[in-house]
């Protein structure tokens, strides 16, 4: 069993590098490593992999300055958000403006149909009178007075 622990296998060397071997196995392994170029190369590879992982790990750590900047940005955006009243005002203002546009679009149609003469009152002491309404919108209203001898169709 002890022998197996001190064999220069990839697994044993990996455990050695990770500090997982007991003291006796570690000492035996350390005595063998100098005589094995393969073992040395393997250990070197472990070292380089570890240092690379360390660099990556450091770069991924959230440093305090970045965290603070992010929180500052969040706080600033929260401060910039319009208040509830302002948002409601904008909403109703937009709605009112849209209503005005709709009314303006439909109103000219209404006006076209209302483009006619309105006679509020008429008082005639000639012999008689009649009102000739136009048959079409392009026609004209005629108030016809019967002044004794004049006639209309």
């Amino acid at each position: 069993m002890e022998n197996k622990k001190s064999e220069l296998t990839e697994e044993t060397l990996g455990r050695y590098y990770d500090g997982e071997l007991d003291e006796a196995a570690r000492k035996e392994l350390e005595a063998r490593i100098p005589g094995s170029p393969e073992a040395r190369a393997l250990l070197e590879r472990h070292k380089s992999i570890s240092s690379l992982m360390g660099i990556l790990g450091e770069s991924m750590e959230a440093d305090e300055l970045t965290v603070r900047r992010n929180w500052d940005k969040i706080a600033l955006s929260l401060e910039k958000r319009p208040g509830r009243f302002r948002r409601r005002l904008t909403y109703w203002l937009t709605l009112a403006a849209a209503a005005i546009i709709v009314i303006f679009i439909y109103d000219p149609l209404h006006r076209t149909s209302d483009n006619e003469l309105v006679i509020e009152s008429i008082d005639c002491t000639y012999a008689s009178f009649m009102i000739l309404r136009p048959e079409t919108q392009s026609g004209h209203t005629i108030i016809w007075i019967n002044d004794d001898h004049s006639t209309a169709n």
Binding site: A97, F104, L117, V118, S121, H140, D148, N153
Partner: protein
């Protein structure tokens, strides 16, 4: 990313409000406020109708269709007058055949001018026509019938305000 965050609600609101304000500014109601004196111009055409010929004066082109429905074959434009009146103002006009016209501008209402029209013979007070009407801008109405010569007098009123 959250798309909702980037939807330009504020820009859309701004565009809608701008369009509405522009429409309000350009609307006829705004125009009426500008002409707060409620001035109205009446173009009065005095036309003589009889059966002496078969012609309708080319100057009456806009009302020819209406005139053709009546019992006269000839229509001749005799006089044209322009009467400008402010709100509440009254104008008196002597017409052909010793007729008399009184026109009063009662101001604008619902996009129309309220006009009081009184037509009567200059001498006689026994007969008259009095009417109050609301007339749209650019509209032409006709009052016809007083005897004149062998025919009758037609009065064509066209509003502008």
């Amino acid at each position: 990313m959250n798309d909702k965050k980037f939807f330009p609600w504020r820009s859309i609101s701004l565009i809608i409000v701008s369009v509405a304000l522009t429409l309000l500014f350009l609307s006829p109601a705004a125009g009426q406020n500008e002409s707060s004196n409620e001035q109205c111009e009446i173009t009065l055409r005095e036309i003589v109708a009889d059966n002496s010929g078969g012609e309708i004066d080319p100057a009456l082109k806009d009302i020819t269709k209406d005139l053709k429905k009546l019992a006269y074959s000839s229509y001749r434009l005799e006089q044209t007058s322009r009467l400008t009146m402010r709100k509440g103002e009254k104008k008196i006009q002597e017409l052909l055949g010793k007729n008399r016209l009184e026109l009063t501008n009662d101001g604008l209402e619902e996009g129309k001018v309220r006009l009081k029209v009184k037509l009567s013979p200059d001498s006689g007070k026994e007969k008259s026509l009095e009417t109050t009407m609301r007339v749209p801008d650019g509209y032409t109405f006709i009052i016809a019938g007083p005897a004149y010569g062998g025919g009758v007098l037609f009065l064509a009123f066209t509003t502008k305000f």
